[in-house]
Symmetry: C2
DNA sequence: CTACATGCTCTAGCGACTAGAGGTGCAAGA
DNA sequence: TCTTGCACCTCTAGTCGCTAGAGCATGTAG
């Protein structure tokens, strides 16, 4: 019976007010009912949905993936294979990203630690940037 | 002999043609001279500059940082402290990103491996997404 | 000379928001 | 009751680093 304003929904879900409106505009969250003064009025289920979205975003899922996951959530008797596939794809993505960043980290360490902090024309940072041949990894 | 077209510059530097024009439009690369038919004509130094930009982008430096690095490169007798600071900042960024992604990886593994691949209402993936309390890390 | 590749400018779109302008609604204190 | 002031509304435009396309002009090989 209590009306949940967009501000309340934001506080309870951790999703910012403009972002909630944005999610509505892209059809990720259904348009809620309105008060007499045309203000959005949410149900507890909407807040749970927002928290779900936020958590999925924090874990790096794209909005399109979240759209699919939300649809699945609404069909509890279906097999969960596609949800698992989405999560697994994200996991593989993250693993690749970590590998790539570790290689990057190595290059950056070489640059930073290799520099004697003198003049620019002796700077290891600038030197390596100007010549990828100085890198230990062939591809970044 | 010379007359490096934008296509040649692209092939030699690894930066795509529209991207070169984009870099010119944001002032990252100086506008080159033009041929009689109004076509861009680059010097070898421009191609080196493009390769520098590309390498820096591959290492994840932002365009604004690259702008600073390029300015520094043009002043070889200056101290390289600010170049080193930019690289170090990027290194710290990368290290933080790796840590964050490792935590993410752990959560995703729990989700993917914890699921018995049955019905959606028993899916570990959906369950964890709906409740951050199920996560091992407090913050993502 | 004729194709066709490459070049030109300009505009719009991507993802996932964020910021601001300019207006309305609403609750609480004086 | 009035007023203050925050919360809410819509709409537009900006962020970053490109990328895609339209509709032309130019350059080159056969
Ligand atoms: Zn240095
Ligand atoms: Zn390199
Ligand atoms: Zn599952
Ligand atoms: Zn979590």
């Amino acid at each position: 019976m209590k009306k949940i304003t967009i501000g309340d929904a934001a506080r309870q879900s951790g999703v910012k007010v403009p972002t909630i409106r944005y999610y509505e505009s892209i059809g990720l969250l259904a348009a809620p009912s309105r008060s007499e003064g045309n203000q959005r009025s949410y149900e507890p289920a909407d807040v749970r949905r927002l928290a779900f979205i936020r958590h999925a975003r924090e874990l790096g899922f794209e909005v399109d993936a979240i759209r699919t996951l939300l649809t699945l959530q609404d069909e509890p008797d279906q097999p969960c294979a596609s949800a698992d596939a989405i999560a697994k794809a994200r996991l593989i993505e993250v693993e690749q990203r970590i590998r790539s960043l570790m290689a990057l980290k190595a290059e950056l360490e070489m640059m930073v630690e290799g520099c004697g902090h003198g003049r620019v024309d002796q700077c290891r940072v600038i030197e390596v940037l100007a010549d990828h041949g100085q890198c230990t990894h062939a591809h970044h």
